[in-house]
Symmetry: C2
Subunit: 184 residues, 2 copies
DNA sequence: GTCTATATTGTGATAGAC
DNA sequence: GTCTATCACAATATAGAC
């Protein structure tokens, strides 16, 4: 592998890294290509050599986490996982992808792209259906939202408070809390 | 009251209404003054007659909900409310302010302004401390995050799924789930 | 692969007529 | 109170040299 090529790959990785940080911090629409280039110490044009547009850069950033959620939804459905297993898997996936969590589930300025890339609403529906069961009453649906909120937002906050990692103790407590949400 | 003045007040209210919708939908940074004016069917200049800047428009939109959270934090601390009362109050406040919830707790592009307007981090800390108790162990802190997640995100999702209102049944289920998060 | 320079459009905000 | 016209600048993106 040539030196230039290897450097190019490293640069691409650095761009993704810096873009993720800034997008998460200031939002997608709130971050300009110039901001990213400045933080990188390179020019805007260098950025456009690696990514054809700002939107494509975002797409590259979200590709893995998004397919992670879609795959998980498929797997949960196919294997008929019970609520506890679904919640455990959601907690782990949220912890793994916590660096893009804020971007993925918080930034309203990316929802148009999100809807074009993946059926996020569909994945969420799958999870809630698995948690609430078939034809749920209103109270049961509220409990499913509660459990889902713990697995997603609760896990994210716990990871944030724990320097970017989810300890075994915290994981156990979150899973127990999420499962308890579903009980009557 | 003169006709012009009354119309002006109505216009101001309409601006706030449309701005809230678009900010929530596309994010603050993702929404331009031109977007709002177009949706309103007026000119950008008319908007600037009522609000001196885009940031001030956002501030007017968030003023009430923000002081609502600060007041609640103060009240909970002063009255030494127990976890169940804190969670119930949080659920009600989240349901009341659900129209700006997404904006307030999701949009990364407003955090700079948010930090200048109010001590949001401080309010959150207050709530979590009230839920977790003094000097909490790690597991207890995780449970507090879980309960907080239910009261905020869980309530929001439930309100969204219920056409903008929180039914008594859903409220009861959410509160029970949130309280159960704290149990061992 | 990266640069400087530039084209082009969008954005927040203002001036001044009505 | 609202308009049209406009400013200054920031944004995405490209051209072409090295």
């Amino acid at each position: 592998m040539a030196v230039a090529e290897r450097d190019g790959i490293r640069t691409r990785a650095r761009i993704l890294e810096v873009a993720q940080e800034l997008f998460t911090e200031r939002g997608y629409a709130g971050t300009s290509i110039a901001d990213i280039a400045r933080e990188l110490g390179t020019s805007k044009a260098a950025l456009y050599y690696h990514f054809s547009s700002k939107e494509q850069l975002l797409g590259a950033l979200l590709a893995e986490p998004l397919s992670g959620y879609a795959d998980l939804a498929d797997r949960c459905r196919a294997e008929h996982l019970g609520p506890a297993d679904v919640l455990g898997a959601l907690i782990d996936l949220t912890a793994e992808t916590h660096t893009v969590f804020a971007l993925l589930s918080n930034d309203p300025s990316i929802t148009p792209l999100l809807q074009r890339l993946h059926d996020v609403e569909g994945s969420i529906q799958t999870f809630v259906e698995l948690l609430a069961g078939p034809n749920p009453a209103e109270a049961m649906r509220a409990k499913a939202w509660a459990a889902f909120a713990v697995a997603k937002q609760g896990t994210f906050w716990a990871v944030q408070a724990g320097d970017g990692t989810l300890s075994a103790v915290a994981r156990k407590a979150l899973l127990a809390a999420a499962v308890r949400c579903l009980k009557s």
